[in-house]
């Protein structure tokens, strides 16, 4: 029997003040021969440890409580099945490939735009996640206050984002940013998995958004999710040819939810799953105002030369099925 090849995926997922906006959920994946396998846990509960080191104003117990609440928020998604178990405090630090998933603080002053990051050890034969560590950069001021700490980043909010990565989600692009001195600042976002964190003191990201829920449900969906939700698939084309790297957002005017997807190949194919049945409005936009590496590997080759475009048809999503062959025609800038 072939032993699984264990590889530390170089998926350094940053919650920083640098990258760009626009959005929807994206799953992390690994190439297995000619196909891409989603990174996902096959065995639950996910057992995790907390580094036995606190920082000023945050004890390891307080840190563990915040992380526990963040895990619980993901577990509470009714259309997905996930679970976790806090095993105990350890001396081990995150980012050591030791078979144990460890969350804790590290002092990384050189990463002055990285609040936290997640790494994986995966079985590259099938995408199974074997270990995932999360570090929080102790260079920044942190808070565990119930209503958020003034001028401090909220651990629970950032933990919720990083645990989304731990479960296999990549970044959403559902947000808008602006350039400020030294990088980008988020103006607004509608996904916890948006790559740029809200400002200090903000605790909005303690609550999952429809885009996050669709993403986790796509990975670990219950039978209810499969039965009661639907998807939209199709292509984004420009002059008859596929557009790679377009961001496609689905808007449900009945409940206001926004869920997105990306075109991931040269044909411009996209799939957006986890949608409530009913009419949806589609919007395609280029990822032209930020760092593409927040979403794709280097050299992905996203086409950003097209105008933001709404699809001229309202798309009806069926219950438990898919609306297929949707074509969103965009024009060059």
């Amino acid at each position: 029997m072939m032993a699984p090849r264990r590889t530390v995926a170089v998926v350094t997922i940053l919650v920083a003040a640098l990258v760009a906006p626009i959005g929807a959920y994206l799953k992390l994946g690994t190439r297995v021969q000619s196909r891409t396998e989603s990174l996902r846990w096959r065995n639950f509960p996910v057992r995790y440890f907390i580094t036995n080191t606190g920082i000023p104003l945050v004890t390891q117990q307080q840190f563990q409580a915040s992380v526990g609440r963040a895990f619980a928020t993901w577990h509470a998604v009714e259309t997905a099945t996930t679970s976790s178990e806090f095993v105990g405090f350890v001396q081990a630090s995150p980012f050591v490939s030791d078979g144990a998933s460890v969350l804790g603080f590290l002092n990384r002053p050189e990463q002055d735009r990285t609040l936290a990051a997640t790494t994986f050890t995966v079985d590259t034969t099938d995408g199974r996640i074997l270990e995932s560590d999360i570090f929080f950069n102790s260079v920044f001021p942190w808070s565990v206050a119930e209503t958020g700490g003034t001028d401090r980043f909220d651990i629970e909010s950032i933990a919720l984002h990083e645990i989304g990565h731990l479960f296999g989600l990549s970044h959403s692009a559902l947000g808008e940013t602006e350039m400020i001195t030294g990088g980008r600042r988020v103006i607004a976002a509608e996904a916890v998995m948006f790559p740029i964190a809200f400002s200090r003191g903000n605790i909005s990201d303690r609550t999952l958004k429809p885009d996050d829920i669709a993403g986790i449900s796509d990975l670990y969906g219950t039978s209810t999710f499969t039965r009661d939700f639907g998807s939209i698939s199709g292509r984004v084309t420009k002059n008859g040819r596929g557009v790679k790297g377009a961001h496609v957002v689905s808007f449900d005017p009945r409940d206001g939810s926004l869920v997105g997807g990306f075109t991931l190949n040269d044909a411009g194919d996209f799939v957006i799953a986890g949608l409530l049945p009913g009419p949806h409005i589609l919007r395609a936009e280029p990822l032209d105002d930020g760092d593409l590496t927040s979403f794709f590997d280097d050299g992905f080759g996203a086409d950003v030369d097209f105008r933001v475009t709404f699809h001229d048809r309202i798309v009806a999503v069926p219950k438990g099925g898919g609306a297929r062959n949707v074509e969103i025609k965009v024009t060059p800038k």
Binding site: F251, P277, I281, F310, D312, R313
Partner: protein, 223 residues
């Protein structure tokens, strides 16, 4: 009442009873009809795609884009079969099919996308039953008019494009109309009617009852 007026009244009854029976549907008659129908639209209101604003921004949700939504009026076909319980009272069962359009006017995009109106045509079926009360009018001979009122309820079934999504509800209706008899023997004519249709369920953005006007014109045959 005077003796003279009683006499006139009795004479009228006797004359009416002696009129030819073929000029009026009677108990046990059947009526089939088919024609075109118009169903009014309704406003679905506006829906805004919003993002959660960051601290220190202008406050309130951030508008991604706006939509104004409505169901446009639709036209289609209807068919009915009715049975006369009495000369005045009939019961009917029928089907109504229309193809209204759902329209969403999209504007105010945060990145300046061109405003457009996105559309979807869906199929609407109503399988209903009604009671119809006919007034005497001017008789069922050629050129005669028979006014009527009706009321009933039905099953509403709507299929979105591709027929992959079905939405169901209940429909209630009421109104009035007139039958214009074309043949001398009271067998056929033209039927025009208008009324209100109250829909509860089916396709909507809110859990609301919608009241829309309905008008129809059809040919009918009595046998």
């Amino acid at each position: 009442m005077t003796l003279r007026s009683v006499s006139v009244f009795l004479t009228a009854i006797i004359l009416a009873a002696a009129a030819p029976a073929i000029a009026q549907p009677s108990r046990g008659s059947w009526e089939v009809s088919g024609g075109g129908v118009f169903v009014g639209g309704f406003d679905l209101g506006s829906a805004t795609a919003e993002l959660t604003s960051n601290t220190g921004t202008s406050g309130g949700p951030f508008t991604y884009f706006d939509t104004d939504n409505r169901v446009d009026p639709g036209t289609g076909f209807l068919g009915r079969i009715g049975f006369y319980l009495t000369r005045s009272l009939a019961i009917e069962s029928g089907i109504r099919y229309t193809q209204p359009k759902l329209k969403a006017r999209i504007s105010g995009d945060t990145e300046g996308a061109q405003n457009i109106t996105a559309e979807e045509t869906f199929s609407q079926y109503v399988f209903d039953g009604s009671a119809v009360w006919h007034f005497r009018g001017s008789g069922a001979g050629r050129g005669g008019l028979t006014p009527f009122v009706f009321g009933g309820a039905g099953y509403l079934r709507e299929l979105h494009e591709g027929d992959a999504l079905v939405e169901e509800g209940v429909e209630y209706h009421g109104g009035g109309g007139v039958k214009w008899w074309l043949g001398a023997r009271g067998r056929m004519g033209v039927r025009a009617e208008a009324g209100l249709s109250i829909r509860d369920g089916g396709f909507d953005f809110d859990d609301k009852r919608r009241v829309v006007p309905v008008a129809a014109g059809s040919f009918f045959w009595v046998f």
